[in-house]
Amino acid sequence: MTYLVVAHFAAALVAIPVARRLGGKAFLLAAAVPAATALWSLTVLSRSASTTSPGEVHAWIKGLDVDLSFQAGGLSALMAFLIGGIGVLVFLYSYRYFDPAGPEVVRVCSLLLAFAGSMLGLVLADGFFTLFLFWEATSVTSFFLIGTEFKHAAARAAATQALLITGLGGIAMLVGFTIFGASTGIWHLSGVENAGSQTLTGLPAVALVLIATGCLAKSAQLPFGSWLPAAMAAPTPVSAFLHSATMVKAGVYLIARLSPVLGGGPWRALVIGSAGLTMVLAGWRALRQDDLKLLLAHSTVAQLGLLCFLFAMPDRRAWVAGVVLLLAHALSKAGLFMGVGIIDHSLHTRDISRLDRLASEMRGVAAVMSAGFACMAGVPLTLAFAGKERGLENLMEISPPWFYAAIGLMVVASALTAAYSTYALRGAFFTSAKGDVAVLGRRPSLGFVIPAGVLTFAGIAMALFAKAPEMLLGSAVKGATGKANFGIPVLPHVGSALVISLLALACGVGFGYFDRLRHFASKAALPFPLGQRVYEAINVGLIRFADRLAGVVQSGSLPIYVATITIVGMGLIAWYLAAIDIDLGALPLAGSVVELLLVAACGVLAAAMAVQRSRVTAVLLLGGVGYGLAAVFVVLGAPDLALTQVVIETLAVVVFLLVVKDQPAKFGRTRPVGSEVLKIAAAAFAGVVVFVLLAGSEGYRADHFVSAEIVEFSVADAGAQNVVNAILVDFRALDTMGEILVLTIAVIGAATLAGIETRRRGRA
């Protein structure tokens, strides 16, 4: 598994020079990589019905339970099959879609491979952090793919929007994973599954809500749904692969993994509520679109809602319906997107009102799209019909009152699906254009249509030859429910579920068929702002808020910054000091009379320095404080320091005087008196805090003499009687080296600053 994932990324790198040389043909070569994934997943699917395959674990950060781990369960293998299978067709389709010499070929080919690798890593991941890593990798590759036409402002804005929303969702999920792992000790999906069904309370329940939030954002559910329609700025192969079949299913996938085992807390209600609302509202929105691709985008949001809705149900029979629909939707929607791409390519428009009875001119595309819409809407004898009917049947068997609401939602959602499918199909292929008629350019070649056809007809074929879906779905279902044999009915059971689904279908078809009815829908705007407007308001509001905040906080005045740092820093120390016992009376006034006199002298000089207005005098006062300190060092038993201090202080005073001599004799006055008061207050506060800190903490000393060993080895090892010297040039010689280096750099810097001007002056 690891090799397969890594191979994708390696291929993505290799694809760059290859695609530069071969152009569009590189897509055909690249198709080999997802083909390998598809074959591998088939072997796993045929095997793992009987045994669970072992996982692969690579150590990463050992102390923190972070590892790189993969495991291929039934659902993972199914997803891998979709990624691989649809991936192959998308690459074949891209070969016809893109201009073979166009600039985007290299970019798209490489990024699609990287995306397929990220997505594969996501569905195979076992460890939470592995999952998160690939989760974000899909967000990032999606960002670049949406921005393929980066010269358009709309594409850039759409890419940013998708990244922000799915990325923030991912971070919520990371927080959720961390809380979950820290509070339960489980850091792997397999660990969650092995622990069996559990009802969570407290922290893990909160964590699960955060994880579910990430899933909803990734799968474009309310209130995060706005990015997916915007992402249609991407080229159609990208939309077909990422934004209908695979990436947006990541959230659905994770919900499907967790739902069978984790109950309790509000997460189920959150997902069911959000998804239930989404599948109806997004369906309504799809009905209002004239752009075929946008219609499909809204329909994707709605169908993802249905999937999340079913997977989040506590009953596992709804889960089985969900997984059947997952397969059905991935196949039909990817095919439909490809179909729209062909129309766009041949007629340079996707506007339903400009398409004139396309069925007579593009029979193949018409057949492919009809099959796709039929599969999506769930016409009898398709896989989706079987899945939906099963879902309804299961919901009806369980009888708490709110399941009736759930059935109602599902019926409305199904009717809406049928309605917009009918509308799109009829408007594009079977009615005359209402606006100016789009002219058919080049007829699409057979190779262009076949990938789409494979996908859309697969939905019908799988319902008729039930062995295929049972093989694909069997181990996933077994993993979730414990039963391997679930059976997909080719012919519907006669019962209330059948009546309800047929009724919903009929209502929907009628609604979509009669223009007057649909017109009514397109007139009725939704009662509350959704998606795009909210995103825009937050976006603009945040920047505006940042502007205001920066205007206040970032004043640009150095004195204000220093005063703020002083007050906050010292305030924190004071806050801490207030909490501990301090005995100020424990200290002696001074070690000796000499010390007291020196301290008094230094203090007077330092205080005078603060208020001194003459530059030269202030510099000399600083020198005076320095010499005074040298004397204090002597008293305290540090003659080396005293020597150094005298030398350095003398040098410093000389340098100061060199600079000061060209400056005005006096410092300027501070302008506003109020700010002067603030400065004095802040400085005085700092002084008080430092005094209390130093005097008060004396009693907390643990060790009084730390260098007994150094003293012991000084003569023997370093041959030095002066221990300080031994430390500087022997025991810690490297420190001294560094010190010399720092000093050299500082002096070079200062010399450069002063020297440039001197040279310029010399020339002038």
Partner: protein, 143 residues
């Protein structure tokens, strides 16, 4: 550490910070000089300074001499702070040559951001329009 030394450190911190809050770069550098002194004195006064230099003449008794390690650290610190002073003075000198004074002015860009709020609002309206390109057809039904 005696009360008088603690008082001296506190006084130097106060005076140093007060100077660091001034507009003249020379005063700021002077302030940093005082802060450095305060820090060095703290380390030495705290570091088991018992009054006898850590110099070994034949025999020694560990408890009777001052701790040499803080002394070595502070010696390094004194020299490094000299480097800082020299560099800062280089800056002050350059400011003097270029501008005729060593005043630290407010950051112009920051002042501009604080002042030009209205202009930014117009930029943001434009951003809103760009995002509107992606707007779903909420109003199309009505128009």
């Amino acid at each position: 550490m005696s009360l008088s030394l603690a008082f001296l450190v506190a006084l130097m911190v106060s005076a140093g910070l007060y100077l660091a809050m001034q507009r003249s770069l020379t005063r700021i550098v002077l302030g940093f000089g005082l802060l450095t002194h305060a820090a060095n004195l703290t380390l030495i006064a705290r570091g088991a300074s018992l009054g006898r230099a850590p110099i070994i003449n034949g025999t020694w008794v560990a408890v009777a001499i001052s701790d040499p390690l803080p002394q070595a650290f502070v010696l390094t610190a004194i020299v490094i702070s000299f480097g800082l002073t020299v560099f800062a003075l280089g800056l002050a000198y350059r400011a003097l040559i270029l501008k005729g004074n060593d005043e630290v002015e407010d950051d112009l860009e920051d002042r501009r951001i604080a002042r030009l709020r209205g202009e930014r609002d117009r930029d943001l309206d434009q951003l809103g329009d760009e995002l509107d390109l992606l707007e779903e057809d909420d109003e199309r039904g009505e128009t």
